[in-house]
Symmetry: D2
Subunit: 365 residues, 4 copies
C-alpha cells in the first residue's frame, strides 16, 4: 500500500513526484452527466499556483491540467476521469546536493529508511506538488456539490500571531493571503517580510466552512463526518492539528457554555442558538454550517543555518538553497477546501442508503 487512494464511492488515486514527468489523479465515481471542462479544474489549480505573490516561491510552474478520459462531448460519462499536469520547469540540478543529507522538518529520513532510498529531487512524492492532484479532484467534487446545493469555501484564519478579527467573504480573493480581513492581511504581510529577512518561515491556520449540507450526513462509530474530515485534512502535509467547531477550546468550556440549545423559529424550522459543535453531532451533520480548522506548520525549508546529519555519518551544518515559500498557508487554502469537498461528497454518497423509505423512493418510482 502506498496510500495514494482516497475515498469510498467518490474515490481518487493520485500519483506523481515533484520533478518527475507530471502529477495526476484518477477520479473514480464521478456521476455521469456533469458538464466538465479543463477550465473548471484550472481555476482551482490557479489558486494553489506559486508565483502569484511575493509570499510564494517565484518558481514558475505552469500547472496546466489536461483531461485524458471520462468526459465525452463536454459531459462526464460516469467512468474514471484521468487528469494530468505535466511538470515543465522543474530544474533537478537545484536539488542534487540534498541527496546526501536529511533536511530538518522534511520526510527525507523517513522515506530513506522506509523505502531504502528516495527520489530526492524536490522532495519527490513528499513534495507539496503532490497536492496538485488533490486540488484537481477537489474541483470536480466541488462542482458536483454545487449541483446538489452544497458549497465549500476556505480561507486563511491566521498567520503567525495575526488572526482575523473581522470577516468579509468577498475580501478572501482580494488579498494574496486569502484572508477575509484586509487589515489583518496587511499585518500578516509585514510579519512575512520580516520572516524572509531573517531567512525564516511562518505557520498559520486555515478555516473551512460547508454551507447548506443536509442533515444526516456522516455515519455512527468510525465513519463520523468529523472523523473523516480529520483524516482528510491531516493527510495534507504540514497539518499538525485538526479542529471542528470550538476545537481545542472545548477542553476549558462547560456543558452549559458548550451545548448548543435548540428552538423553533417563527416558521417552525429548527434552529441551533449557537454552533459550538461546528455543525456535527454524534458524527452526523445537524443542518448548521460545518466549521473545521487546520493548523499548518512553518515551511521547513529555510535559508538559515541548521544542524543535521549526512549519509556519511557526519554531523553537519546546512543552509537549504532553492526558492521556497516563507509560508505555506495561503497556497494550502484551496488544498484544504479540496479535501473537504471530496470528503463531504463521498460521505453524502455513502449516506444514501440509511433509510428504507428513501431507498424505496429511489428504486421504485
Amino acid at each position: 500500500m502506498s496510500g495514494s487512494v482516497y475515498g469510498n464511492l467518490f474515490r481518487i488515486s493520485t500519483w506523481g513526484e515533484s520533478h518527475g514527468k507530471g502529477i495526476g489523479v484518477v477520479v473514480d465515481g464521478c456521476p455521469a452527466g456533469l458538464d466538465l471542462c479543463e477550465e473548471d479544474i484550472q481555476s482551482f489549480l490557479n489558486r494553489r499556483k506559486p508565483g502569484q505573490s511575493k509570499y510564494s516561491t517565484p518558481r514558475k510552474e505552469e500547472d496546466e491540467v489536461e483531461i485524458l478520459s471520462g468526459v465525452f462531448e463536454g459531459k462526464t460519462t460516469g467512468t474514471p476521469i484521468s487528469l494530468i499536469v505535466f511538470n515543465k520547469t522543474q530544474r533537478s540540478s537545484d536539488y542534487s546536493e540534498i541527496a546526501n543529507y536529511y533536511r530538518p522538518g522534511h520526510a527525507d529520513l523517513t522515506y530513506d529508511v522506509k523505502y531504502g532510498f528516495r527520489d530526492y529531487r524536490g522532495g519527490g512524492r513528499s513534495s507539496g506538488r503532490e497536492t496538485i492532484a488533490r486540488v484537481a479532484a477537489g474541483a470536480i467534487a466541488s462542482k458536483v456539490l454545487s449541483q446538489l446545493g452544497v458549497s465549500v469555501y476556505a480561507y486563511t484564519k491566521s498567520i503567525g500571531e495575526y488572526e482575523i478579527t473581522s470577516f468579509d467573504k468577498e475580501e478572501i480573493m482580494n488579498n494574496a493571503l486569502y484572508m477575509p480581513d484586509a487589515t489583518t492581511a496587511a499585518k500578516a504581510s509585514s510579519y512575512l517580510e520580516e520572516c524572509m529577512l531573517n531567512h525564516n518561515s511562518a505557520g498559520g491556520k486555515i478555516e473551512c466552512i460547508v454551507t447548506n449540507l443536509p442533515v444526516g450526513i456522516g455515519e455512527p462509530a468510525f465513519e463520523k463526518l468529523d472523523a473523516n474530515l480529520a483524516k482528510a485534512v491531516t493527510s495534507i502535509g504540514a497539518v499538525k492539528a485538526f479542529e471542528v467547531g470550538d476545537g481545542t477550546s472545548v477542553s476549558m468550556a462547560t456543558g452549559l457554555t458548550n451545548n448548543d440549545q435548540y428552538s423553533y423559529d417563527n416558521l417552525g424550522s429548527i434552529k441551533k442558538l449557537t454552533n459550538h459543535s461546528g455543525g456535527i453531532l454524534g458524527g452526523i451533520s445537524d443542518g448548521s454550517d460545518i466549521l473545521i480548522r487546520a493548523s499548518i506548520k512553518p515551511t521547513p525549508s529555510i535559508f538559515a543555518t541548521q544542524s543535521t546529519i549526512n549519509k556519511a555519518g557526519e554531523n553537519i551544518d546546512v543552509n537549504i538553497k532553492g526558492r521556497h515559500d516563507p509560508v505555506i498557508v495561503p497556497r494550502a487554502v484551496v488544498v484544504v477546501e479540496s479535501m473537504v469537498a471530496i470528503t463531504i461528497l463521498d460521505m453524502m454518497f455513502v449516506s444514501m442508503t440509511s433509510n428504507m423509505d428513501k431507498l424505496k423512493r429511489f428504486f421504485i418510482s
Copy 2:
C-alpha cells in the same frame, strides 16, 4: 454503511446499543499464536468502567467480557475473535422521557432525521457505552504491539484549565483522573466538585504516547500515520480536536523553532534534538515517540436547565435526569489509548510490503 467497521488488515466490527442486550466487537485479522484470555481484555475494560470514583457515574455496569470465538487452547487461531459484554443493569425507564425531545449537545436530532426514528434508551448507539467495543479490541491490539516491542499509553493532560505541570508515569494509575501529576489532579478534582454543585460539566485533554515504534510506519499521501490517528481519535464521540506534536501552536512557530534538527550520538545512532513533529515526518514514523492529543468536550448531559425543542413542535425547558459523569475525560483515556493501539498495529501491518528486500527475506528464507 453504518460505519462500524474500522481498519484494513487488523479490522474490527463493533455493534450494540446502550440499553440493548449487549455490546460487542469482532476482531478480524489478529495473528495466530497470541496467548489471549478474558483477563487480558477485562483489565482494559475496567479502566473505562463507571463507578470507580465520584467523578464518574455511580451506575453499576459490570461490563464483563466473554470471548466467543477465535481462541483455542489459550491461543488466538488467526480467525475472527468475537467479544461480547452483556448489558446487565440498564434501566430503560430512566430514559423514556427523552424519547420526545432533543437533548442539546447529543445526537438525538441527527439520528432522528437520518434514520426516521431512534433507539432513545440511553442514547442507543450514540451512547458512550459504544466505546466498550473499542476498548475490548484495543486490549488485543495492545497485546500484539507489546509482543512486537511497541508500547502505547495515554493519560489526562488537563481538565478545564488545570493542565499538568509535571510528569510521573507511575502516578497515572494512582489517581481517579489518570493524571501523571498528583498536584494538578487534586486541583482538577476540586474544579469537578464545583461543576457538580453547579449542575454543570467539564471538558479536558488526553495525551497519548507511542514508544519504540520502528521508523517507516505510515504511508505517503492519504494513509499518513497522523491522518489515520486523526480519524481514529476524532471518531470517538466528544473529541473536537486532534493534535500531533506541537499541534495548534505550530501556527505561531517559525521554521527555526519548529524544525527538529538531527545529530548522530556517540554510538552513531540518529537523534532528533527536539520532537516538535510528534514523531512523524511526511506521514511516516521517524523513530521518536509518537505524541498525539485529543480535546474532549464537556459531558452534554447536565442537570441545569436548558432550552430545547420537542417533537410536538414546542420550545421547552429541560432538566436532564439520570446519572451522568461530570467529566468524560478520565474514562476516555483508555478509549484514546485503544484507538491509537488499533491504528498503530494496523499501520504496521500495512507497512510490511514497502520494500523488495524485506519481502524477499519474508517469503524466501
Copy 3:
C-alpha cells in the same frame, strides 16, 4: 486480515467455529425502518439445518438465532445488527482423533501451515457451520430486496449425473433435495443411497435466479456484477466453478448463437429474444433475469478408506468417523441464495451514485 468481512455498503462480519461457543454475524449497513424479527432469519436458517432428511447428517443442530442489536421496537435502527446462534449439541470428543492427521479434501493442512496450529474440532472455522452466519445475513438482505421489488431464489440443478429436465418452481420446497423437478429428484435420491452404501459422497450444481432487478446495477471494469457474484459464490467452501448465463458452454458457441438479439415488444418495451448472457452485459444488469450457477464438490468426509499423512511423519490409512452429509448440495442452496442476495443488494446500493440527475432528485426534492 482473516477475510471475514464482506461487502461495501451492506457489509457483514462473520465469526465462529464449528465447536466454539457459537456462530454469528454483524450486519453493518442495513437501512433503518425495516420490520425485522428472529423469525425472518430463522426461516432461512431452517433451510440449511441438518437432520431434515436422510441425505443430510442426522446430527441435531438447533441453530436458533438471536438478534442482539440494531432492532428497536420491531424495526431496524440503521445501526449494526448483531446475530448469534449458540452452538448447543457439538460433541468435541468425536473429533479429537483428527487433530494429528490431515483429512484429504479438507483444509486441515493449509490451516496448520498458515497459522501454526488449528482448532481441529469439526473443522473449526473451515467447517460448513461457518455458513450459518452467511445465511442469517442473507435473510436480511433478501428482505430488503423484496421491499425493493427484487427477488432471489436458488435450487439444486443436478446431483451427480442427475440434472433437472423440467422446471416447476413450486416443487423446489417439496423435496428434500430442493429440486424443481420431482422425477429427477427421485433418481438423484437413489443415487445418493448408493453413494452412502459405498461409503462415498456426491457433488452437484446449484442454480440461482434474480428477478426484477433494475437495469444498470454493476460497475465497469473490476466491480462488474458478475465478477462480484463470482467472488460471492466461490467464497462458499466446496464451490469449484462459477458460471453466468450459458457459462462454460460459450466456449463452443459462435457469435451468432451466443449474442442475445433485441426487439421492442408491442408495448414498446425492450426485449432480449434470448438470455445467453444471464442478464448481465458489460458487467451491468440488462433487465433480464440474472442466472448464475455453482458447481459443488462431493463431501470430502467419507467413510471409505483413504491414504493420508500424520504429524508424526507417517503415511497412514484413515476412515473418517462422525456423521456427515453424503452430499452438501441441498443444504448449500440457501447459502448460494444468501450470498447472491447480499451481493445484489450491495451492488444496488453502490450503483445509486452513477447519475447526476438521480442524485439531484435524491438530495434536492
Copy 4:
C-alpha cells in the same frame, strides 16, 4: 463508484476509453527497489496487441507504454507508478453509426440506461482496450512475483470444440493462438477461418497456472484465494465461467475420486497424489500448482446480419462494420495471466500478518 480500482495492498486504478486520448493505470503499493523499465511492461502489452496474426483485428494499435512516475534511477520508489498508453490510430468515424442503436452482445444498452448516455466510439470504457491497463499492471505484479520465486503463465486451452490433447510449454509462444499443442492449434486455425468466412466468431477457454506459490496464501471465509481469483478473472469482459481445479466436473465426481490424498515422499516432503483441488483447500494455497480456467464468449461484433433496436423505437437489422477479432481468446491469454498475477501478489501481501512468530521475526530482527 465506477469500479476501476482493484486490490487491497497492491492496488491498481485504471482509466481510459477506446477512442479517448489514452488508456492508463496507477499502480499503488508496488514495493520499492524493483528494477523496472518500460520494456518490462511493453513485452506484456505486445502479447495482447492486435495485428499479430490473421485471427486478430488488422487494426494497427501501437500501444507504447510510458512510465510517468514511481520509478527513479531505474528502480521503483514505493510510490504510485503511473503508466500511460496514448491512443494513436483510432478512427472515430468508423463508429459513429452505432451511436443510435444497441449492438447485440455489447454493453451499449446497459451503459445508456445506467449513465443516461455513452461514449459510443469503439465501446468507450467497455472496449477490450480497457485491458491494456490490466496487462500493464500485470507485468509489474509478475515481475515482483518472479523475485519472490513465484511464476504465473496462461495459454489457450480450447477454441470452439478444439481442445488441447498434449502439453508443451515451449509451444505456447510459437503459435498465434498461444496453444501449448501445435496440432490442436492448426485445427483451431482452420475452424477460425471458417468462422470468418461465415461472418461469425468463436469462443474458447484459457487456462492459467501458478507455480511455486508458498502454502498458506488466501484467507478463510470471504477472502479465499479462489474467490479472489474468481472475481479477478470474471471481471474481464467476455468471461462467462470461472473454474478452479476440476471445476464444473466435480459435480459428477465422488468423494473418493475427487479428494486428493496425501503422502510423504522419500525426503519427507508432503505430496498430494493428485491435484483435483487446483492447489487450493479451504481457500488457502496448499503448495501444489494453482490451476484455474476461464470460458470466453465469442466476439459479439460480427459481420452477419442481426436483429436489434434503435433509439428511435424501431426494430432494425444490422451488419456491424469495422475490423474485429473473430476470436478474443488468444489476445485475452495475457489478460487472464495479468489478473491472476495481480491477485496472487495482493493475496501474498495480505497473508503476511497471519502468524505471531513471523511478525516477530519481521519486526524484531
